[in-house]
Amino acid sequence: MNPAGFPEQVRRAWAIAKKDIRIYYFKGPVLIFGVFMPVFLFLAFFMGSRQLPLSFLISGLVGMTLFFTATAVSPAIFPWEGSAKTLERLASCPITIEAIVFGDMIASLLFGIGITMVTVIIGLALGLSLLHGITLLAAIFLAACCFSAIGMLLAVPPTNVPSNIMMLSSLIKFPLVFISGIFIPLEQMPAWGLVLAVCSPLTYFTDLVRYSFTDTHYFPVLIDTIVLAVFTLVFTVITMYLHKRTMPRRM
């Protein structure tokens, strides 16, 4: 066994993920939030705006559910662990910072996927038909990776006060929802809106979900997939690089 080798570090990242799920995600309030959020999103958008068909709303609802759940807890894990000194315990263990970040990402993507499936099931229960199931599953997985990397990116500022990070996180997450074709279809967006929309990974995910349920899309499916994959890669590399730089300042 080479402790510093890639397979061994992946195994240790999985241990971090299991620890996160047990401590931060398998909590009553978090699970209740996870189940109620999609339900209330449906109630708010479906019952509150009858002029928009459910087939259009579903892409935004799935997009928001995945985006908010995959970035809900992960930004606060480092600040929590920093203040509880458990991060120092991890720092003295034979695990790289990249593996710790990767472990946190795995936990957040599993949580995001799990809760998003609730939204998808509600949509199907309300009569929507899924036309491209494989595309939807692949898109959810890819976007969950991307959003969990964004979640970890939000945790980069080396503060051990979770509320600071949550504030910053909200400041970034909410504007992103408004520019991603969730409330206004991309076809109806002004030119400046489209310029902003193409900068958001959420845009490509909602476009893929829309394709999965309605067979319509704004960008070609391949482009959506490639751009989402590139975003995932770039965010993952950046978040790992930045955490490596800021980690010592948390200690």
């Binding site: 195994r11 240790r12 999985w14 299991k18 047990r22 401590i23 790289t96 200690m251």
Partner: protein, 309 residues
Amino acid sequence: MTAVIHALNLTKVFGSSTAVDHISFDVRQGEIFGFLGPNGAGKTTTTRMLTGVIPLDAGSATILGHDIRSEPVLAKQGFGVVPETSNAYTDLTAWQNLMLMGELYGLPRARAEQRSSDLLGMVGLLERKDQKVQAYSKGMKQRIILAMALIHEPELLFLDEPTSGLDVQSTQMILSLLRDLNRQGTTIFLTTHNMEEANRLCHRVAIIRGGKMVAIDAPEKLKTAIDRVHRIEVSFDREVPGDALAALGSVIEVSRAGDKWQITTQDKDATIRSLMTFSQQNGAAIVTLNTLAPSLDEAFLRLTQEAKP
């Protein structure tokens, strides 16, 4: 003897303050090495650099043959850490904490379970293994983090104030465990404020003050080295004249303390030999004979005071 820790010009700067200033030392295999110093001296910063928690600003540290900067994972694989503040996951049970550590150190599941069971028994927590750590007392938390540090049977153990604020029972249990571990070959790097603990436990101690190394030696040598003169306390079964004692070789001063004589001398060995001869020649049997060495507390205070800027 092989150096398990080799620190060379270890330096850490926080803003305009140099917390650790070019300190160098070796910790030998199989020894208990005490790292002493007053608050803010740089003990914890040094330990955190050696354990790879914070980066070095200058110098180098080799732990078990691996550079902590270039091979941190390999270095960390060989040691365990018990920090001053308990940092077990309080939302997990003792068992879950140990299993997590087992996974982080790459232990196979069966081995991790066996070790966890053995260690929980060793620290007296086996019956409470399924209880969340948040319900534990301070002593129990300290025992569980000791068990967590030992899960992978490390060759080297770092402990930062392991008995600070603990009750007598937990303190004695931890000290006894440390002695046993050391007997089995584990090298121990112990940061402590407790001079008595260091005196009884450590083969060598280093004293740090203001980020600089002040002294490094065996506790007994350190105690005697701080005084250029030594004191001997002696009593006889009959009255002897003080002037005769003052005339013995190397004696500087003689004073009466109850039924005993306190002798200040430059050469402890020569004076004790002279006292033996004096006893025989004068037919005065020695009842008690003690060398009054300064305590490690005194040595520590003297050394840290002298190093004050």
